[in-house]
Amino acid sequence: MSATRWLLEVRRLKKSFPIRRGWNRKVVGAVAAVDDVSFTIREGETLGLVGESGCGKTTTARCILRAMAPTSGEILFRAADGRVVDLAPLSRAELRPLRPQIQMVFQDPFGSLNPRMTIFDNVGEPLLVNGLRDRRARLERVADLLELTGLRPEHMHRFPHAFSGGQRQRIGIARALATEPRLVVADEPVSALDVSVQAQVLNLLLELQQRLHLTLLFVAHDLAVVKHISDRVAVMYVGQLVELATAEAIFRHPRHPYTAALMRAVPVPDPHAPSGDVALAGEVANPANPPAGCYFHPRCPFTIEACRTEAPPLREIEAGHFVRCHRADELVLAGVGAEPARGAHGVVDSRGSQREDV
């Protein structure tokens, strides 16, 4: 990984939603959807943000996009003019000039385009509101964008209902690229698509990224997709970052038991591949009432006493490899394609099941 400078630095980001009860909507508590999350995205890289539903990955993405205001923390963004701006405290009006530089690709290709506007109007909207008033210039630019994303420019006067899911997703990408953003946040961009179309959209994102030197924050629940597209991967669990490393490192040698379990839970499209016994017991903790100590300890096969009482910090155990686990140094966990290995206290057998022998 070349030491390019960072484009986005998220510092101690926190977003909590109040829990209201009663007729007067009194605040009786708070759910910490994102709890003290920090990471950086370098220029031109793809950071994959993975986790199960409710882990806070989408909330993190929306805070960075400032579709919602974070409760606390900093979102430092290196703007096109070289200034470093903290997006977190900015008002609506202050954000508007920065909007074109951070764009989003949505999950649902059917809800993300205005059905009452043509493709030209949908894709041209960011151009128009950012000052490109000349219709001819806009027509040309939209045609270029459609061509760039593999669509036929002559279809730009059609309405979204004339396009399939995959085509609409391309339109959504074209719109996101219209303002030449420096950062694109893609929130589950392929999870609503059919398998045969997923690959097309993934390829498109990879190509565009190389061609336009895009920086991408790729939010997804599908590990295979994330592995395919990311330079670095961040794993979230109940609002916290539990592991962050290069894709290579995290998939070969996961250091957090949750990451390892998540990988083993993905069904491999090969009948000979071992179908693991129950990878993880129990369910994702309730973020409104998380367990004491490490949030993962009730499901973790390697729990020791410290896990129950003490919340582990996120620490760098190798250069660029961050883990939130007390036992990260001693455990050796199986990654993808890696041979089973013996841990200090845990055994991971070839079928992927873990036994605790503490």
Binding site: R96, Q103, Q107, N130, H161
Partner: protein, 374 residues
Amino acid sequence: MSVLAPAVPVTAEERVSVASSWRLIWWRFRKHRLALASAVVLITLYVVVLCPDFFSTQDPEATDARLAFIPIQRLHVFDGLHPSPWVPDVAGKRNLTTLRMEWRVDETRRIPVRFFVTGYSYRLLGLVPTRIHLLGAAAADGRARLYLLGTDRLGRDQWSRLVHGTRTSMTIGLTAVTFSVVLGVLLGGISGYCGGPADAVIQRLIELLQSLPTIPIWLALTAALPRDWSPQQVFFAITVILSLVGWTTLGREVRGRFLALREEDFVLAAELAGASQGRIIIRHMVPTFLSHIIATSTLAIPAMIINETSLSFLGLGIRPPAISWGVLLQEAQNIQTVALAPWLLVPGAVVILSVLAFNLVGDGLRDAADPYSQ
């Protein structure tokens, strides 16, 4: 067995691809035959509203006590085999015991009915002075008259009065709903888009208004109208009163749409593009629910018409000499009139017809309003 793809001509597909939402709505609406027929009825009624005098056969205000309670003259389309419409003349004789005029139809004396005849003078659309009327009796002596729907107790021509009543009642329905839409969209929009305390205040206001018993409120409000107001002032006041109570349903609907739309991805996309709040509302949100609002308002018009009719029927709404359906029905208030002159109930049938037509069109629009649902 060979499986052939259904023949979808490229041109048809292309046509659908570039069809705007309004076109899609129209294509869907077109499929409701009943709604389409009702739309034709409504359009006809509103054409009448535009120039009632043209459709009148006589001056609706002209009274002649000697011509009271003339029954409906049957309109014959053919004279023998010729298409030449005519009505039989009526001859009146006072019954000396009841002292009422008794009318006998005289089939032998035929009054020819002609199109575009000259009658009383008026201004077409309030501008062009003219004497031409759509229908009229063409008789040599000028005395012969046409009573398509009979006359009332003052000898006024019921048809012409009905045509003028249609203008008032249909206009009141439309304007009252327009006021309601303005109020509903404005307050519902603020409530839905801003949320917070504004939302709470407006929602409580809607609840308050909806919990008030409407009839006593109307009674009180209309009774409070000064007696010396001109018919136009009364008309306007009634419209405002109707819409002050009527906007609540629409307000709720608009608020619901705003709340749902705020969560839509394409609205967020517009926000992330840097669009201003005003632009998001005008360009992205309003067009999305406009068709729904039109459908809901169409369904609200009949209620307004019925409200106006009821008020006027009770003598609290539009007051004579102004004419509305309610005023006309007032004439048929006592059982004696109904028994002796049942044709005075015809305005009731027109009320039912228009209300039905509005409801059917509204239903059709509501079904067609979201062309993107399956």
